[in-house]
Symmetry: C2
Subunit: 402 residues, 2 copies
């Protein structure tokens, strides 16, 4: 039987009344003859509350224990949603990440899904049950509970959809899809009804909150169509699927990320220095966003390493910075208080026009450019954080709504 | 190395400050050179809050989902306590019931511990870590999360102590041990410094709240000494261990249980009828406390079956009663609103003196006796619930404080 995976974010299950509404939506899909697997987040602000308790207990709680703590949030939701479905007369069963076969590495608080072994999910679906899986969590090969980091429930949903060979994956949240930029920043933000996998992936990596980049990667691998919808909305949606010939070329979105830091290290051996710095970051599980330049002029003094770290990805940035300062002393410099603004679209770098015109536009408006990085789907520009809003507005007007 | 198991109840870990106090107590024991395994309950009223959410969602939530929901409470405590210990520089690791090898049957919401396989606990202790285990929870052979029912964290603690061959098991709560009766009911209640396993077991079965009867059974099997202490108290305690020659004979305690129902069924074939009734109760996992009489005069009309059910043990009594009424119609009668008052002690029934004098005492005071049951450690008397307090006071004054 065709299977649909439905994922509900924290605001969609924030209280018991909303949980009942969600149970009704699930029942409607089930009654149309689909097998239904559901992935849920923690209710409303539950995760924030648990995090603040942990912070009150310890400045630096062990990551494994953070995962033990935070994974309880989704378990509360899934048990209550299962009860709500059973109360409607619909057989349902809740499964933990571990029970659902979400196998991860042991990178606690930011684990990667390595494999999904959905045998138990399949068994329960075959018995006609709605299966509710706790999002955001998995189990490591060491049999410890792990969590998948920010937006991890999306990853659970899409990875599960891929493993179940689902017809599609529906991601329900409090917004009705993906916009050309953050509507809270720019009034002219446009709703995007359709996006390709790589464009959505670049948007997520660069700061768009609607869908996790890792989730999009799973969808791409197995060509699962992902529908981003509002739980309480009118029916507008964004479909993320294989690139269609009619898709737009050029800039389709302007996304941004706050709390970005540019780290520069003066070094005799740039490559060795970079490795040392990366080791410090790796120990604390900090992803490096961009390595702007490794001027590996080996043996010559005066060479430089620089890279970009996004503070919002980082757990305990203060501690990491002191670790780096201790290691490199005067040779290291931090430029903090930056933001990254990224233009996203197919074929952006086929020629240099978009990049050059954007740089000229920002210069004309007195916006200092601290750095630039590009891929074939993205042009990212580092600016001072207080100029983020201006930069986003200028770029959006120039390339999308202008 | 000698191992001590410490168990902390909900009131001992009700907030973060208390958690820190408990962390200090653990550190003190650890510093004396013991291996320490800790068992924790959910913080304060967490379990009650989760239960009331479930009740709001459903009149009759599936037991499996109740277990999924309720087991999160202990997981929050154990993760936070592990963080508090790590913050003190003490290596600690939290383990779920499943990770700690607490294997149960699949009788959800009231599961029995079948086996403890504490390999991971032993490994972590051998690494010098304090191991913190979530109480009240286990895992069934079907790999589902189960909970152990009322007072289940005691069972976790003692079963773990037995499996680890611990030197002793310390149960910390908000009272400093076991009393001769409920101090809230009777001012003259006496603190009991020492009790044998069977006396404690009868007390727990008959309504004493300090320690779970199942836990005492585990302690008895492996001869683990159990210390009941107050977390914030002065050092008074009750030790439960093998019967010592100096232990008191006669009535040592008067305990009581509210919401008791006496069920009577008129039947032609009393034994077959009892089996049918027991099947209805078994389906809903209701334990039968006493089968008062099976007057199995087979083939003769007018024979009777009667048994006692304690409402406080029962999950959804209204539903069970209608099930029985549906099955037996006019032949069944319920006497509700009863209480059981039990005198506990070694050798109580060596002769009939204690029983006869107690019955005479109650009759003199106008207390109607709805039923009597005895074992060699216990005399239980059913009275109207509104006479419970009088009955307890009269018995306590006559046999203990008089």
């Amino acid at each position: 039987m065709a299977c649909i995976v439905m994922k509900f974010g924290g605001s969609s299950v924030a209280d018991l009344e909303k949980l009942r509404h969600v149970a009704g939506m699930i029942a409607a899909v089930k009654s149309r003859g689909f097998d239904v697997a559901v992935v849920v987040s923690a209710m409303g602000k539950t995760t924030d509350k648990l995090v603040s308790m942990a912070r009150e207990i310890s400045d630096n709680p062990p990551r494994r224990e953070m995962d033990m703590l935070l994974s309880t949030g989704e378990r509360i939701t899934m048990a209550l949603l299962s009860m709500a479905l059973n109360a409607k007369g619909l057989a349902a069963v809740s499964l933990t990440g571990s029970q659902a076969g979400i196998i991860t590495n042991d990178r606690h608080t930011d684990a990667q899904v390595i494999e999904v072994r959905p045998f138990r999910v399949q068994d329960e679906l075959a018995r006609g049950k709605v299966v509710i899986v706790g999002g955001f969590q998995g189990v490591s090969y060491k049999r410890d509970i792990t969590t998948l980091g920010r937006g991890g429930s999306d990853t659970t949903a899409v990875a599960l959809a891929a493993a179940l060979d689902a017809e599609r994956c529906e991601i329900y949240s409090d917004v009705d899809g993906v916009y050309s930029t953050d509507p809270a920043l720019v009034d002219e933000a446009r709703h995007l009804p359709e996006l390709s996998y790589p464009v959505m992936q670049e948007m997520s990596t660069s700061g768009a909150k609607v869908l996790n980049a890792h989730a999009v990667q799973f969808a791409k691998q197995k060509q699962i169509a992902v529908y981003a919808r509002s739980t309480f909305g009118t029916g507008r949606q964004t479909v993320i699927r294989r690139f269609s010939p009619g898709a737009l070329l050029g800039v389709v979105a302007v996304v941004s990320q706050r709390r970005v830091a540019l780290v520069r290290i003066e070094a005799r051996d740039a490559l060795a220095t970079f490795k040392q710095a990366a080791a410090v970051l790796e120990k604390e599980q900090v992803p490096i966003k961009e390595v702007n330049a490794i001027e590996a002029r080996q043996g010559r003094s005066g060479s430089k390493v620089s890279f970009v770290v996004a503070g919002s990805d980082v757990y305990g940035w203060e501690k990491i910075r002191s670790g780096l300062e201790e290691r490199f002393g005067d040779a290291i410099a931090f430029e903090e208080g930056l933001a990254a603004v990224s233009l996203i679209g197919e074929g952006l770098m086929r020629n240099n026009t978009t990049l050059l015109r954007t740089l000229a536009l920002l210069e004309r408006n007195g916006i200092r450019i601290a750095g630039v990085a590009t891929t074939s789907f993205r042009i990212s520009i580092l600016v001072a954080e207080e100029r983020l809003e201006d930069t986003v507005k200028l770029c959006h007007r120039r390339w999308i709504s202008g």
